[in-house]
Each structure stands twice: as C-alpha cells, then as structure tokens.
Symmetry: C2
Subunit: 552 residues, 2 copies
C-alpha cells in the first residue's frame, strides 16, 4: 500500500479555502499513486478554532464542506479531519472526527476517543469523546484510525485496533510545537509501534495559529520502531512511502537553534499573512531583543516589508542608536527616525502641577528594590516608553503596519516592560523566548549569515532599557542566567519556593522573582499574543488569576 501524508497549513475558519486545499492535495496524492492519503486533525474547520466549534452554523458549514469534498474524491482513500455534529443535534455535542472519503462518498467516520484538556488544549469544552475504534481496509491492508492524543498513552483504540489486525495505525494530528517536541514524538511512536507490532503514520499540521506553531515533521515508523519517513519541519510537504516496502524521504531534523528560529519565523509569517497584513513595523532600540525581532521579521516577510523605527531620547546613547541604524542597514530595511524629546517635554509640563502634589499610595508593581525609582521617576520612565508606543501605533494607523513588540519571556515574566509602551503592538514575536536564548538565537543567525548582521557591540553591551542615565537591567533584576533558571522552574514547571531553594537557588532572589512574576499577571493579561516555543508559555497555556494572594 502506498501512503501519502499531506502535511498542510490550513487557516482557522476558512472552511472553503481549507476544503479546496484538501481537494488540491488529494490530486497531488493521486499523482503519486497513493492508496491512502492522511490529512491532519480538524484540517477543514482549522485547529484550534476555539469557540467557533460552539457555533452550530460553523459546524454545519464544515460538515457540508466535507460532503462536497467526498463527492469529488476518487483514486486515493482520504482521511480528512472535521468536526462532526453529534446525532442528538445539541450544538455542544460535536465530535473531533475523521471522515473516510472514497469513491465519491463519506464511507465512514472515526471519532476521537481521548480529548486533551490540559496546557493549551480545551477539547472537553468543545467535543464529546467517541467510544470506539475504527478499522478500514485499504488496498488489502488493515488500517486502524486514531487522532493525535489517542495514541499518547498505551490505551484503546490503537491497542484494540492493532489487536484486531491493523497493520498501520493512522494518526492525523494537530500537535503543537515546543522546543524538542519532535524527538518526544518519535520516541513515543517507536514505543507504540514496537508494543503493538504495527506501522504508525503521524500526519501533523504545519504553520502558525495565534500563539501556536505546528511544526509538521510528519513521520512513519515500522513495527520495529524504525523511522521509515520524516517530512520537513515548518513547511508543507506531501510525504510518500510504501507499506511494506520503500521507505520515504527522511528529512534531516533541524539543529536545536535552527528549529526554534524556524518556529518563530513561521509563526510570525503566518500571523502576518493569515490576518491580512503585508508589512510590519519594529521599534529598534539598538538592544538585543529588537535586533532579534528584526532578524526574524526579515526572514519571515522580507526586508522590503519591514520598517525599523529609531526613536532616540535624551537618555539614549549614541552607540545604541548607531547600532540600531546599522542593523536596519545590514538587513536592508527602511529606517524611520523620530526623536521623542518634544513629546516628553509636553507631558512634563502638562503633568507638573499634578505631580507636585503629595499623597497617594503606590500600587503599580515596581522592579527589584535596590534601584527602585520614585513614583515620579517611574512615571517619567514609562512616559518615554509610551510615547514610543504611541508613535509606533500612529505609523501603524497611517501605513497599515502590524507592529511587532520586542519583549522576551524573562521580561514578560517579571513585568520588566511598560504596558502601552514597549508592550504596544499586535504580535509579541519573542515573548516565549528567555533572554539567554535571545542571545543564542542572535549569535546563531549571525553565524548562519557568516557576518555580523547584528553588530558584536549589541551582543556585548550590558542590557539596558535606557530610560534613565546609566540604567542597566541588572541593577533591577538578577543576572539573566540565574533569572532564567528560576523562571524555568517557577513558570514552566510550577515549582514552589521550597523546591527551588532545595535545588540551590538563592532564597532571597527566589522570593523576589516569585513576587515580581505574580504581580505582573495584570500586565501579561493585556499583552499581545506571541509564539509558544517552550513547554509552558504565557497565554492559553498558563491561566493564573490576577487577584491572587498565594505568592508562589
């Protein structure tokens, strides 16, 4: 039997466009002589379509699209993911399902048994589980049907399908990326294949959807757990192989840093494209974060579609401003320069009277004690960031840009960012990238280019927000190496203070970091979405209350 895995990039909600893409790829698969073509999970409505799945007319529209698709299907048997209205007609009762299309008809439907409801997944909000497996015969080979989560534990239906004689377990998926996820998947599939003595074929989505990136990397393993085919990461591909017989293409996996970088590029590119933008704007400070965002933007949409805005203040050093201009020139982007001093002066005089008054209590979360500015100084610092945010948004309104924000995960964690200031923008490309990884990715991209796209001075200068004279991040924050270790434990692994201290992290700094993270929840709630690259990102993945007295 010849199997094709159609690793496609559908768009959430674009039912007609997605169905047309499935029809087109069925044509490609027929061109390759495929007996069976596997499409990803929920590829007709798009995934995750969130509360669209609760709209009765949305479910009906995707069902009609699948029936229409079936009428045009000949040659290959196609497994196509859709949301099936449940028999009882209750809009809350849809199945995450797989239609078996062959000879102009929907020959059968498999309904996902195991609905993940953790991390970024809310499938029990949308779907009711199927309760049985389904096995079909294709070109004389028995194929067991599953969807994504169904095979992550050693449970039915895959176990029962294999026991009933399935030689291939098909596993269409919408398996979101995080760093190293591909290896986890390959180990899991190899273990299942050996346990059940069957082939496994995993066909994943590819592309970005809001916070998520699907990395593709579809694959097949034989009953010995050996990899017999692997598709590219972050690109559409039709991966073809035979069972038994010819192995397919086995794409080399990307290196660790190339993989993370690739996830960020495709996540950004798809957000721009799928939301109807063409051009992005970036406030380039001369620091490492905005430098990395500019690199990613140029790789995602091309230098002609990236505008860099340099907005010096009296606290900006000539060196950082020069570095900003150099980066824009190296990348071949437009540079716009707008000093912010006139607006600073206007605010200062407008606020003089109210600021002179005594009184009031201080409640806005503040950075680390030693360098904690006075309320008036904090206000002045934030105004600078907010003027820049306003200018970026004005340029966005005027020129139709998507503004990219440049905050990294370390800053987003501790609230070292100004709401409505540097946090102003539509997409937060590196919000899940810890500061230490920002350095690694920038060095990596320079190395790939074989030249200093980002000047060494940017990589070597101590990080600073440059909102007051001689300010350095490490006056207000622990060293980033330590901060990122604590944040990984606290944010990504939900460890408590005792556990972190027992692991050797300094108690006083642990307490301070916990305090900063907890007190910044209100800021994160108003942050732009960004691309998840770690096992736990801010957003749908980590849902903490703002009002929260726990402290740890």
């Amino acid at each position: 039997m010849r199997v094709a895995l159609a690793q496609i990039d559908p768009t959430v909600g674009d039912i007609d466009g997605n169905a047309a893409k499935v029809a087109e790829w069925i044509g490609h698969a027929n061109g390759e002589g495929a007996d069976l073509t596997i499409f990803p999970e929920l590829c007709v409505p798009g995934y995750p379509a969130e509360d669209l799945y609760l709209k009765r007319h949305f479910i009906e529209a995707n069902r009609r699209a699948v029936e229409e698709l079936a009428r045009g299907t000949s040659g290959t048997v196609a497994l196509v993911g859709f949301a099936e209205p449940a028999a009882d007609g209750d809009v809350r009762h849809a199945h995450n399902a797989l239609a078996v299309l062959a000879d102009g008809e929907v020959k059968g439907v498999y309904r996902k048994n195991r609905l993940p409801n953790y991390a970024v997944f809310d499938e029990q909000r949308y779907f009711v589980p199927g309760v049985e497996g389904k096995t079909i015969e294709v070109a004389g080979t028995w194929v067991g049907l599953t969807i994504c989560e169904d095979v992550w534990d050693e449970v039915p239906p895959a176990s029962t399908e294999a026991a009933a004689g399935a030689e291939l377990i098909a596993n269409p998926s919408g398996s979101p990326y995080h760093r190293g996820k591909g290896r986890e998947r390959e180990e899991m599939f190899a273990a299942r294949a050996r346990a059940y003595g069957a082939h496994f074929a995993f066909c994943n989505l590819v592309g970005g959807q809001d916070e998520l990136v699907f990395d593709g990397q579809s694959l097949a393993v034989d009953p010995a757990g050996e990899l017999i085919a692997r598709a590219a990461q972050f690109e559409e591909e039709l991966l073809v192989f035979d069972i038994p017989g010819n192995a397919g293409r086995v794409a080399d996996p990307l290196s660790d840093l190339s993989e993370v970088y690739g996830a960020l590029v495709v996540g950004l590119r798809d957000y721009v494209r799928k939301n109807g933008f063409r051009h992005v704007g970036i406030a380039l400070s001369g620091g490492i974060d905005s430098a990395l965002v500019a690199l990613l933007a140029v790789d995602a949409v091309g230098p002609e579609n990236v505008s860099c805005v340099v907005m010096p203040s009296p606290h900006s050093s000539a060196e950082t401003q020069d570095d900003a201009r150099t980066i824009a020139v190296n990348l071949g982007c437009e540079t716009i320069e707008i000093p912010i001093e006139p607006a600073m002066a206007a605010y200062e005089s407008s606020l003089a009277e109210s600021f002179a008054e005594e009184g009031g209590v201080t409640a806005e979360p503040l950075p680390h004690d030693p360098a904690r500015p006075s309320p008036a100084d904090l206000a002045a610092e934030n105004i600078q960031a907010r003027i820049r945010g306003n200018l970026m948004m004005a340029l966005s309104n005027r020129h139709g840009w998507l503004v990219l924000t440049t905050g990294n995960k370390s800053e987003m964690s501790v609230g070292y960012a100004t709401l409505y200031g540097d946090m102003a923008g539509g997409f937060a490309v590196i919000k899940d990238v810890p500061k230490t990884l920002v350095y690694e990715l920038t060095r990596h991209r320079n190395a790939e280019a074989g030249r200093e796209l980002v000047p060494a001075s940017v990589l070597e200068r101590p990080p600073s927000a440059e909102l007051r004279p001689d300010q350095r991040d490490e006056d207000s924050l622990p060293p980033y190496e330590l901060l990122d270790r604590i944040l990984e434990a606290y944010v990504e692994r939900d460890q408590g203070r005792e556990e972190m201290i027992a692991a050797g992290m300094p108690a006083a700094i642990v307490d301070e970091v916990i305090r900063m993270v907890d007190r910044s929840e209100y800021k994160r709630r108003q942050a732009a979405p960004g691309i998840r690259i770690t096992p736990k990102a801010f957003g749908r993945d980590r849902r903490l209350p703002i009002t929260n007295r726990f402290g740890g």
Copy 2:
C-alpha cells in the same frame, strides 16, 4: 436540625486568611446553635483559583489548612470546600471536594461528581470527578452531600442520596452571577426538591474575583419546593433555619437594575481591595459611560478614593467639559484638569514627515464605512485617546491609583475604542454592560439618589467620542438599540447571520456588525478584565481565535 449557611467572601490564594475566616464563622454558627454549617465551594483555596490548582504545593497547603481547621472545630458539623489531593499523588489528580469537620477531625470527604467545563468553567482542566455520593447523619437528620453543578441536572449523586433517605441535600456552590441568575437557581432548586422530596440548601460564595462576581443569595427550599430562607445578594451573611420547623430570613431580591448595579459595585470593590489598591482614577469625558463608572466607583470605594481627570482637547465641547466637572462635584470627588493640546502638537510635528509619505496598506480595523476617516485622520484621533491614556497611567504611577477604563460592551464588541488609549487601565468596570443598559443604570442611580447626580444633558446628548469636530457615534455605528440587539444575538447567543436576518435584523447591518466584532478580537485580547453580568462576557467566557477567516 438547625442549619447555618455561611455565605462568605474568601480571596483566591489566601489560604490562611480564608481558613481563619471559616474558623471565625464556625464560631458565629455555634453562637446561633447550628447543628450543621455549610460553607461555599472551594472556599479554602478560593474559587476559581485557575492554574494555582495545578501547583502541588498549593494543593498541599490547602489540605494542611483544612486539617488544622478540623482540629479547632467543635459544636457544629461544618462542610468546608477544598481541593483534595488524589490518592495517587499525581498533581493533576485533585478533587473539588468537601470536608466534613466535626469533633476535631475530618470525618469524611465528598468529591464533586460533575465538573463543568463550559462558559467560564474549566474544571476538567483541574479536577478528576468523584464517582459516588455521600450521606452523613447530623442531629438525627440524614444529609446528602453535593457540590454546585452536581444538582443542575436530575442525576446522581443527589437522586441516589435522596432515594437512600437524605432529608436535606447540601449544595455548597461557587455559582457566578449573571443578570437574572437568582431566579434560574430558585426554579431549579424548587424542581429538584419536589422531584426528590427533600430539602435543599444552597450556600453560595459572595464577592468578586477578576471577571466574576458571586452574588450570594444562598437559599433553602422545603420538599414542596417552597422557599424557606434566602440570604442577601452581594453581602456576607450567616443564614440560619431549622428543618423541620422555623423558616429563616427571606431577603427580598433586588430589582433587576439594582441587582446589576450591585454586581458592578461589589465586583469593583473586591477587585480594588483584593489587589491592594485604595484609590481609583477615572478619565471623565462628560459622556454617559465615564459618568456611570464614576457613580459605581463612588459607591464602591467612596468619593474620597476617586479622582476624576478631565482632559479637554480642541475638539471637546464646552458643554461636555462642564458636565464632567459637574459630575465630579456632584459626587464629591477630586477633579484634576489637564489639557492635551500641547502633547497633540508635539506628536503632530514629530510625525509630520513620516505621515507625508505615500504608500502603506491599511489594516487596522476601522469603523463603519460612511464616516470612515482616512488613515492619517484615524491616527490623529487615536493619538488624542492615547495621550489621555498616557496621562492616566502617569497619574497612576505617581499616586498609586488603579485606573478604571470606561468602555461599554457595545463598544468593546465592535472595536469602537482605542487600544492603549481609552482602553488603558487596570479594570474595565462596564465592559459587559451594553450601551442601552448604561443609560438605564445611570437613570436608575439618579432616581435612587432623588437628584441628577449625572445631569440630564449627559443622558440626552447624542453619544460622541469627540475626537473630531461634530463626530457622533451613530455616524459610524448603527443606532445603539439595534446594535445591542444584534450583539446580543451574535455575541451572547452565538447566532449566525442567517438566523439573525430571519429574526428581522437588516442584512447589511448584520454583516457589518459581524465584520466589526470579528476584526476587533485582537483589541479585546489586550483589554483590561471587567465584570461579567450577562450570560456571555468577553474573556474566559468567549474564546475566539484572533486569526479567524470564518466571518460569522
């Protein structure tokens, strides 16, 4: 048997504080001679504590607090809500549970059978269901235990507990408010009581938690479905009654508008208090929305803790500015006045060069066609709103205020608000209040005061954002009466265009409203949280993708 319902307002995450409050109220209940005292669902850890429930050390801390509470409990039997670690030690396996405290011990535990995972509820993310009921004997009466959702359908365990002889079904709850929810509950409890021939006692949380308000209104019904006790809405109360025998206090329910108003006041008051603020700031425009927010703020935290900021521009009319000042005076609040013209001039000159350039595509969602401003005009309008946002945040930094935003649900729906401008602030008090209800609530509060706290001119003037000369909302938007009807169908009831048009709504306007709502999702994602008062609010309750081509 004497029963006490301890309708308390715990704080999420404040395990020690909540346990201390439970101990104190056990004392009150003993003072009333209660045999059985029922506390609300999950009152020790707080509800909803969201991903705090995934932290192993959080679950352990709440378990220890319950054991400590038990040691101090004598006299009454107390039912206390907590998150019970499951026997297998997996952090994802906690139960939403009820501890039976008596004579210094935890005598038993009931585990919630039915875990809601729709609307604002994510309980299947956090808990594993219990699989059996539990009946205890208190003062010679058999009491069946349930938690909230357990009794909303006619299913076990309540049905089996009643069949096994329970004369009273205890139902500790965390049942969030929406308009008219109290009546829905009373009808449900009356139906259950008659169906099972048992008393029901519902003890609800009271108070605000981020987006949610719990309205209290705890109650008891007898086996004929007759109400025998009802507690106040929006206040803590110990409600005592006897079974069989003396009915308890039956509080009069608030009128429809008083109820909504009360929900907004308590939601705001608790957000301020529980987040450690004392003082709030409001940008008062002279329009109806900020007027209502000022009324609510004064009722929530007192006029001495409310600062009103008037920020005229050259487009502000003298009448609206006078109305703003009048409202602040009527309410007894401080008024701060800061003209925005100097900052407008600074931005205009800074941006002149970049704005003169041609090119760019327009992508920011724009209002309704007829009055659609040019990109440059839109930018200029947004700058005014953003200057005001910056000034409010600067005053917040300087004086420690919580800034309240003033957008209503109609505006939040169609994106008729400026991100980082009038949307800048920590709490969006009326974001779930449709514009037509904003008028009703303001008139209602004036009537209650017996004088025009908000001048009639504010209620009568056609709504305008006053960002350009002679601007009126209805140049860009359908009349609010019609808009609110369409929004209720589309946002709250998930109707599609065909259904709305079939119900008599004009097709062209329906299409335009759908487009505006869908295209504003990115703005709402960056909005401050606000208080849910309808059956479907923006936020946890309505989870739509930003990247979404469905269009309906």
